[in-house]
């Protein structure tokens, strides 16, 4: 048996090993090491207005706020978007955005088209800030309290279910804590 005819088999076995490992992992539930830690510091230009700066201090201005990572190229963000709009319209909670690895005109057009639920979106063109925040998939949403502590992280689209079962009770709890 010539060795080179075994190459496909070996490659395939490696792939299978990878999948076995992959099955044990759930892509949508992974604890973040950042939970209950202060937000990673950043300072970025605003998406619409390059002169304006959005920084991590901005997130501590409210009792509690959402920090949503999004991009115009991300399909799941479209899915999530109507719900964010609903939240913003109802004035439930202030929402900040991090526009992740995107192009400025694309992102602005996207918000113009679908509506802008964000008080401000930080423009993270190279994804450096996203890296600090441990972003591994878009969209992600962080719940941040007034001390700048990350209280929760939602991976994947923010659904009505997640909102009602987890995030809203948490927000109520934070609001109660802070009186």
């Amino acid at each position: 048996m010539k060795v080179r005819f075994l190459i496909p088999l070996v490659l395939f076995l490696l792939l299978i090993g990878l999948f076995v490992a992959g099955l044990k992992l759930d892509p949508s539930v992974v604890p973040s090491p950042l939970i209950d830690k202060p937000v990673p510091q950043f300072s970025l230009p605003e998406l619409h207005d390059q002169e304006k700066i959005v920084d991590s201090a901005e997130l501590t201005k409210h009792q509690v706020s959402l920090f949503n990572i999004w991009a115009s190229w991300c399909v799941a963000c479209r899915q999530e978007h109507p719900f964010l709009m609903e939240l913003a319209r109802a004035g439930e909670v202030p929402i900040y955005g991090l526009n992740y690895k995107d192009k400025r005109p694309d992102a602005i057009g996207w918000l113009k088209r679908l509506g802008n639920p964000y008080i401000a979106s930080a423009f993270d063109e190279k994804g450096r800030v996203g890296l600090d925040w441990g972003v591994y998939g878009v969209p992600e949403t962080f719940v941040v309290d007034s001390k700048g502590i990350i209280r929760y992280k939602q991976i994947g689209p923010l659904t009505k279910q997640a909102w009602q079962e987890t995030i809203l009770p948490l927000i109520d709890k934070i609001r109660a804590e802070e009186g």
């Binding site: 496909p8 076995v20 991300c74 690895k101 057009g109």
Partner: protein, 660 residues
Amino acid sequence: MLPELGNFALILAMTIALAQGIVPLVGAARGIPGWVAFARPAAWVQFLLLIISFSILTYAFVVNDFSVAYVANHSNSALPLMYRISAVWGGHEGSLLLWVMLMAGWSTAVGLFSKRLPPEMVARVLAVMGLLGVGFASFVVFTSNPFDRYFPAPMDGRDLNPMLQDFGLIVHPPMLYMGYVGFSVAFAFAIAALLGGRLDAAWARWSRPWTIVAWLFLTLGISLGSWWAYYELGWGGWWFWDPVENASFLPWLVGTALMHSLAVSEKRSTFKGWTVLLAIFAFSLCLLGTFLVRSGVLTSVHAFASDPTRGVYVLLLLGIVVGVSLVIYAWRAPQVKSAGNFALLSRETFLLGNNVLLVVATATILIGTIYPLILDALDLGKISVGPPYFNAVFVPLMIPLVIALGIGPLSRWKQDSFERLGKILRFALLISLILGVLWPWMLFGQLDFMVIVGATISIWLVCSILLDLFYRSRHKASLWKGLTSQSLSYYGMSMAHLGVAVTVIGITFSSYYSLEKDLRMAPGDQLELGGYLFHFDGVRDNHGPNYTATEGVVTVTKNGEPVATLYSQKRNYTVQQMPMTEAGIDPGLFRDLYIAMGEPLGDDGWAMRIYYKPFIRWIWLGSLFMVFGGILAASDRRYRLMEKRKAGLNTDAKLAVQES
């Protein structure tokens, strides 16, 4: 009672598949004619049983039998009949049942159309298909049974996902599955040939029509999916590089490579080991796609409800099928001897180039798709790979492919010369360089480097196809005679290649020249876009059987002449409380006018999205050309001739017997 019968038929089909997988294989190895002959009837009975099982499930949907859990989860009494029927494959369990049934259907077809093949070969092919059938049928029976009951039965069902309530989604999955499952035939032929030790030109000739048919179904399935995404999702996009889309595109790329490499194996008796490997890969990627979509290892928009036990099962199936076949390959392929040599400039080289580019494209897309999983498994963090990566790696591979595609069919087997090819093609080069700039510039008045590239290579391809046809036909008594003497498979090939040019034009022009406008419109407002005047007449209420809708009406005029009236709806499906946007589209060969309603903005104002999309239809028109080319090639008379020749042989033999 009926659903239990359906379940019983399914289990029976599984056991028959098991017998079909073992008996003929042993028969072929030991030379027992009765056992060899078992394969065909087994395939028929298995297919019949699965038709019964599938029909019973369909019937449960038609009569709204919500005691069947699968029906209750995917249907509703208010759902129109058409969608109740298509809901049969609207979820995981039912779509797998469809898969198993189609696979048995392909086995039956192989049994019917393979009378000219040696009986042992047919027996081995059907046995491999039978074993695959066992794998999938047991997957349905043990992990995803669509006949499970709810007790007590719910009053009404949870309704079909509104996204799936659409014509495109009725036909898209069956076509896609026909393609996936069809590649199991090419796979079975490859394994049978390896087992029987006859990896020769005859094997390639037998596999070819099956591979082409599987490929054309897959082409149709993928383009239907893309067309559906375009008009249903309301984003104006037609391809998103989503893991599920990639899962269907990977086998298509390898399947395309396989078709071409089979041609070399048949005509020149080289590349055989490679061709067998491609046949194994094409089907393995179909299985891999199933695993990725149904196990939940990757997040995707249209992933099925995922379940770890299902993931383990598909992975097991994938491991056994691909693992065993690669072991057989490693054991048998070294004995294959490749005959012919070929020069650096020859048709073999071009087909090799085709294979290399397509396989590299497959590998890069596969890596991009599973890269998040690799990093995750190695604990290196989590990432998501988006369209920027795929466009950046895929487009540069396709450009040389299209350029080589223009030369390949003109080149000669074994050896060719630059002088000969240059003489024929300099004309095509000249025309394409001129028109590649001039044509888009005259149409749109502005240029982009990538537009020039896209237009140039497409025109280059069209010119070379026409030149090829001319050079092949001109030696005959008259040009007409020359044209009619070309084979169907030649016309099929040219048609499919022409389809590539058409699709490339569609992609290029629609990507670079689309205009889009997002604005607030109140009744009476107007907008000019791409020379068209869009007038918002207002909104009205509308309703369907299971949804209520607000419908916006926009009339379009050009230079005062009416062009179209577009209706876009915002629907709310009452059962699942899910909003859906229905785009209003005026399709045209050279442009689509596309509107989608957004949110109400108060004071009668609506957010509106208006698109002008030039040449977008060409994307799907090109894929229809490819499908049609596939049909022509698969119905070439030499495949039918062999049938006749064999029949003739039989009568000769009978005569001989009578005479003696």
